[in-house]
């Protein structure tokens, strides 16, 4: 599968990663263009989360390279902090800081990392909270919010750094169905703003609706990728077919 975009915003080139003897990413190659939304689908343990963690340099890769705007960010010895400033990440379990208010959760990185004045960072935070209908929660602590609200705050926290790419790691997996919708709305909004996104998700209907490209991972390999219509209605590979058949059987598509 060749690159769709001549110059990819993000490019994974034959990335390998193993934990002990277990190969989690096996020669993964993937291009993501600017403003593109790519969904990673696949069974649990297929390597989706590890892939996102590797892009954010939370996990060092064993071999291969990861290019951001033409710079190899996975090169051993490369300082990860400047990269992480440009790449936002949202986790399945929200990971908000429980000892800080919502507002402080959001302004922490802009003030500490980007050295923005506090007042300016707070203003940006309020604007973002308002956009996502959370402004009345600015003074609350994470424990006082519902799961959906916490996850939206986590997204706002990542957005406050004005990242060029957002990585979303099964952000709705810990939420009950009623709350999933509000988080998906936020992601739709981000798409509308032209954010480049890579999502790992089990929400197949949502993947179909939102993504420009769907990428199926199986046993650490990108087995098949393509536009959602094609992937969901006419997958070429038997593994993809099997996976989607099982998803449909469980009523999740």
């Amino acid at each position: 599968m060749s690159a769709i975009h001549p110059v990819a915003k993000l490019r994974l080139d034959r990335v390998r990663k193993s934990f002990g003897d277990r190969v989690v990413l096996d020669d993964v190659t993937l291009d993501v263009g600017a403003h593109e939304v790519v969904c990673l689908i696949g069974a649990s343990g297929s390597g989706k989360s590890t892939m996102l963690r590797c892009i954010n340099l939370l996990e060092p890769i064993d071999d291969g390279s990861i290019w951001l705007d033409g710079v190899d960010i996975a090169e051993p010895g490369h300082d990860p902090d400047p990269v992480r400033r440009r790449v936002g990440m949202v986790f399945q379990s929200y990971n908000l800081f429980p000892h800080m208010s919502v507002l402080r959760n959001i302004t922490l990185a802009p003030t500490k990392v980007l050295r923005r004045p506090r007042a300016e960072a707070e203003q940006t935070a309020h604007e973002l909270l308002q956009r996502f209908g959370l402004d009345d929660k600015a003074g609350a602590f994470p424990d006082q919010l519902s799961g959906g609200q916490q996850q939206r705050v986590a997204i706002v926290r990542a957005l406050a750094m004005q990242p060029e790419i957002m990585l979303l790691d099964e952000v709705t997996a810990a939420l009950d169905p009623v709350l999933v919708g509000e988080v998906l709305n936020v992601i739709r909004d981000m798409r509308g703003l032209g954010m480049t996104m890579v999502l790992a998700t089990h929400e197949m209907g949502f993947a179909r609706e939102i993504s420009d490209r769907v990428c199926f991972l199986h046993q650490g390999r990108v087995v098949e990728q393509g536009p959602p219509e094609q992937m969901f209605s006419a997958p070429e590979r038997p593994e993809t077919h099997d996976f989607l058949a099982r998803v449909i059987a469980s009523g999740r598509l």
């Binding site: 963690r53 954010n56 939370l58 990860p80 902090d81 400047p82 992480r84 400033r85 790449v87 936002g88 990440m89 986790f91 379990s93 990971n95 908000l96 800081f97 429980p98 000892h99 922490l108 990185a109 500490k112 990392v113 986590a154 926290r157 990542a158 750094m161």
Partner: protein, 298 residues
């Protein structure tokens, strides 16, 4: 209906829906009965135990001798005022050592967690420090340092006083214990918190300062307070190298009066400080439990 408890379904319904005479819910009524019952049981058993002590201890053959030499009221009222001032020295040693211990303990805990290879010696030192310090009794450290270090100086100055080096030994020993408490707290902060912080671009030291330590410290306040309560008592160990604090002064009074009551008076002074500290610790622990685990299970 003749039975004391309603058996028929409409009887049960009536009981459930009608407000009880006291105006309390069934649950509250039940809780109230239970509480009264436990209070009664607790009071009766306490009275029995105390009565047994009051009745039986004086029946022991040597009670009169022991009472005369340990619980002599005149000696007690005589020695207590003489112990105030030396006890103030205990308090001062405690007040100076405690903050030092918290600071040194936290630094050692952080040093033990350092993963940078350049700082490996620091980590090694911190590990050896906690192992060696905790492996020797506090009283032995106080003796070794309190008698040994002042010998290094030829002149006499404030820094050659035994009390200074006794305090130093206390800080050293307790820092090692407190460092382990902090380390447990730091390791108790979930890895995902670190991941979230790093993914936002914060450096590892910024992550430590703003995300990990504040959460760790909150968790370790109760065990830390426990260590402070025992420090408050262990200050008395400094007496073995010379400073006249409460325990030593009491010992002097004992040898002057040939009566052990001054020791009891000293014990009362220690209790005056340690009981409020212990109560505060329990209060903090209960608050922490409520905060982290919701409803208590009896």
């Amino acid at each position: 209906m003749t039975g004391s408890t309603p058996i028929t379904s409409d009887g049960a319904d009536a009981r459930a829906s009608a407000p009880s005479r006291s105006g309390l819910s069934r649950r509250a009524e039940y809780d109230l009965r239970q509480r009264r019952r436990s209070t009664l049981v607790a009071s009766v058993s306490t009275v029995l135990v105390v009565a047994a002590i009051i009745l039986f201890v004086p029946m022991m053959p040597g009670w009169d001798r022991v009472r005369a030499s340990f619980f002599d009221w005149d000696t007690f009222t005589d020695s207590l005022p003489k112990l105030w001032k030396p006890f103030w020295l205990n308090i001062r040693i405690f007040l100076i050592c405690a903050p030092c211990i918290v600071v040194v303990g936290m630094l050692v805990a952080i040093a033990r967690g350092v993963r940078s290879p350049a700082l490996f010696p620091l980590r090694l030192f911190a590990t050896v420090f906690t192992d060696v310090v905790r492996g020797v009794p506090v009283i032995l450290w106080i003796t070794l340092i309190g008698f040994g270090v002042p010998g290094l100086f030829s002149e006499r100055a404030w820094y050659t006083k035994p009390v200074v080096w006794g305090g130093f030994a206390l800080v050293m020993c307790y820092s090692a214990y407190v460092a382990e408490v902090f380390r447990a707290g730091i390791e108790g902060v979930h890895e995902s918190q670190r991941a979230a912080s790093r993914s936002l671009g914060l450096s590892s030291s910024q992550t430590m300062r703003t995300v990990v330590l504040p959460q760790a410290v909150r968790r370790v306040v109760p065990p830390l307070m426990n260590d402070m309560v025992s420090l408050q008592k262990d200050v008395a160990l400094v007496s073995i190298i010379g400073p006249v604090e409460a325990l030593r002064r009491a010992g002097i009074l004992v040898s002057q009066s040939f009566n052990f009551t001054p020791y009891v008076a000293a014990a009362v002074l220690f209790l005056l400080v340690s009981i409020p500290l212990t109560r505060l610790t329990d209060h903090l622990m209960a608050r922490e439990r409520r905060r982290t685990s919701g409803t208590a299970v009896s």
